[in-house]
């Protein structure tokens, strides 16, 4: 077997990029409003922020979400919107959901949310709906330069 050469080393370094371990990725979707209008979004989920009492939360999960938000804000080209795929909270507590929304407010762009079972099971989703609206919805994502659909 031959030694790894410089080019191969750099290529492998790049390949790791595609297999990043954070819950963060950029997806190009091939069916926008018209066939020529692809769009992209960044996906974050499963923060499982855990309330310990008072203003204290488990640090690990907080740091993970803060970091995901910071990294998502660096994506270039910019995604058309952000998608939060559920489980802001660990125990479904209102403190956890509010704490997560405060961190997610730093995302630069529109964010669309899905309710996770951890967000749901303490109060059957009541607080989540109060903060974010109905749990079943559709939306139109519009780039700032694109005219609104008629």
């Amino acid at each position: 077997m031959s030694r790894i050469d410089r080019r191969e080393f750099l290529r492998r370094g790049g390949a790791l990029l595609a297999a990043g371990s954070l819950p963060l990725s950029l997806v190009e979707v091939a069916f926008g409003r018209a066939s020529t209008e692809n769009f992209t979004f960044a996906y974050i989920s499963d923060s499982h922020l855990t309330h310990l009492g008072g203003t204290r939360f488990v640090r690990n999960w907080d740091r993970g979400l803060i970091r995901a938000v910071a990294e998502a804000n660096l994506l270039e080209p910019r995604p058309d919107f952000f998608f939060y795929g559920g489980d802001i909270a660990q125990f479904g507590k209102s403190e956890e959901i509010d704490h997560g929304l405060e961190i997610l407010a730093a995302l630069r762009g529109d964010v669309h949310y899905v309710m996770g079972e951890h967000d749901y099971y303490l109060d059957l989703g009541e607080h989540w709906r109060k903060q974010l609206g109905p749990d079943h919805y559709s939306f139109v994502s519009v780039r700032p330069s694109t005219p609104l659909p008629e």
Partner: protein, 374 residues
């Protein structure tokens, strides 16, 4: 215990041959295409210390990797020709033979590749290109003779391949274990470490969480994990400008700029860390875990040389990757970095333990010049 002195293994596609090592270290991996020979090591030693291989004839590898200073330079950041300064603290050469990537951002895969960069970096050796480096070497009859004997090449056919292989071979001999910790932990000498150092080891393994990255294995300890982490150092410099800095770096790199030159010449861009190599957003501000062996001899500390003492380093970690516990936390910081709540006694013990990682051979080299070892 591994008894074979030349056990061939295959690691990530690289055929390497292993050689025996001091207590506490694994066998030294040596690439198949660059076997160690005494003559090659001597040639590499000479090249390593040769100040002529620089733009002003005053800078050698040993300028920043001085053996009496734990193979560092005791400067915050390294000083090259014309006293030009870079952006990073010189990492030690000691035990670099075990590293899976070289430079603090891992931008070179091996010692051979690493050794080719500093002589032609504009703030280090300052030579315009490798031809200028080869011209200096080819003009010296002693080198011509040595390269012929070691590699079988004539003067005008000496290339950077031979030069880098000789330097790497020498560096693979700069290996040091046999510390008080090694005797305590691997040889069962219960009195090798004093009571404070033994308590410090416990902090290192438990509440201090140090061992998560500065690894100790069952039969050996390199005190590194070959990985890259953002621990909060350098955050202040590019705070709030991470995105702009990363984007400016990429524009420069994709425009053809040399990464080695950029990261050592531009203080802000230096702080993007491993991202400079992989362009992976999860590695903004991440730097390679340094070994802790002989750490007592290699102050100041951290990739930017910003912390002067081991006590400063422990305080930094104890505050969760901050100088003061009221400082903001970098959003890009590794989740493993968190406030440790260590007592003053635990912090003292941890520093005492770090001083148990000094190898007698390196302490001796340092003492010869009034070094810092006890």
């Amino acid at each position: 215990m591994i008894k074979s002195l030349s056990l061939a293994i295959v690691l990530t596609g690289v055929a390497v041959r292993l050689h025996a090592a001091p207590l506490g270290l694994p066998p030294v991996p040596v690439p198949d295409d660059n076997p160690q020979t005494p003559a090659k090591i001597a040639l590499g030693d000479k090249l390593f210390h040769d100040k002529r291989i620089s733009a002003d004839g005053k800078v050698s590898c040993s300028t920043c990797h001085e053996k009496s200073m734990g193979f560092t330079d005791h400067k915050r950041v390294s000083e090259g020709f014309k006293k030009l300064t870079g952006t990073r603290n010189a990492p030690t050469v000691i035990n670099s033979a075990y590293m899976k990537t070289l430079f603090l951002d891992g931008r070179e895969p091996d010692l051979e590749g690493q050794s080719t960069q500093p002589p032609v970096n504009p703030v280090e050796g300052g030579l315009p290109n490798h031809n200028a480096e080869l011209k200096i070497i080819r003009a010296d009859p002693d080198y011509v003779k040595a390269f012929k004997a070691v590699f079988g090449v004539d003067g005008k056919h000496i290339t950077m391949t031979e030069v880098s292989r000789a330097i790497a071979s020498f560096e693979r001999t700069v290996v040091a274990g046999d510390s008080a910790f090694d005797r305590y932990y691997f040889a069962g000498e219960k009195n090798a470490m004093d009571a404070g150092q033994v308590r410090g080891l416990k902090v290192f393994l438990e509440q201090g969480r140090c061992v998560s990255c500065h690894r100790i294995e069952q039969t050996q300890a390199l005190f590194m994990d070959h990985r890259f982490h953002n621990i909060g150092i350098g955050f202040k410099r590019i705070r709030g400008k991470e995105g702009d800095t990363a984007a400016a770096f990429l524009a420069s790199k994709h425009g053809g700029a040399n990464v080695d030159h950029t990261v050592l010449s531009n203080e802000n861009m230096s702080e993007v860390g491993r991202f400079a190599v992989t362009e992976n957003l999860t590695q903004v501000g991440a730097f390679k875990t340094s070994t802790l062996r002989n750490i007592e001899l290699t102050q100041p500390y951290m990739h930017d040389g910003s912390l002067k003492t081991l006590e400063d380093v422990i305080d930094f970690y104890n505050n969760g990757g901050r100088l003061k516990d009221t400082d903001p936390v970098s959003p890009f910081m590794s989740g493993g970095i968190r406030p440790l709540d260590l007592s003053d006694q635990q912090k003292q013990d941890l520093v005492a333990f770090l001083k148990a990682l000094t190898s007698p051979s390196m302490a001796e080299l340092a003492n010869k010049k009034g070094g810092t070892t006890p």
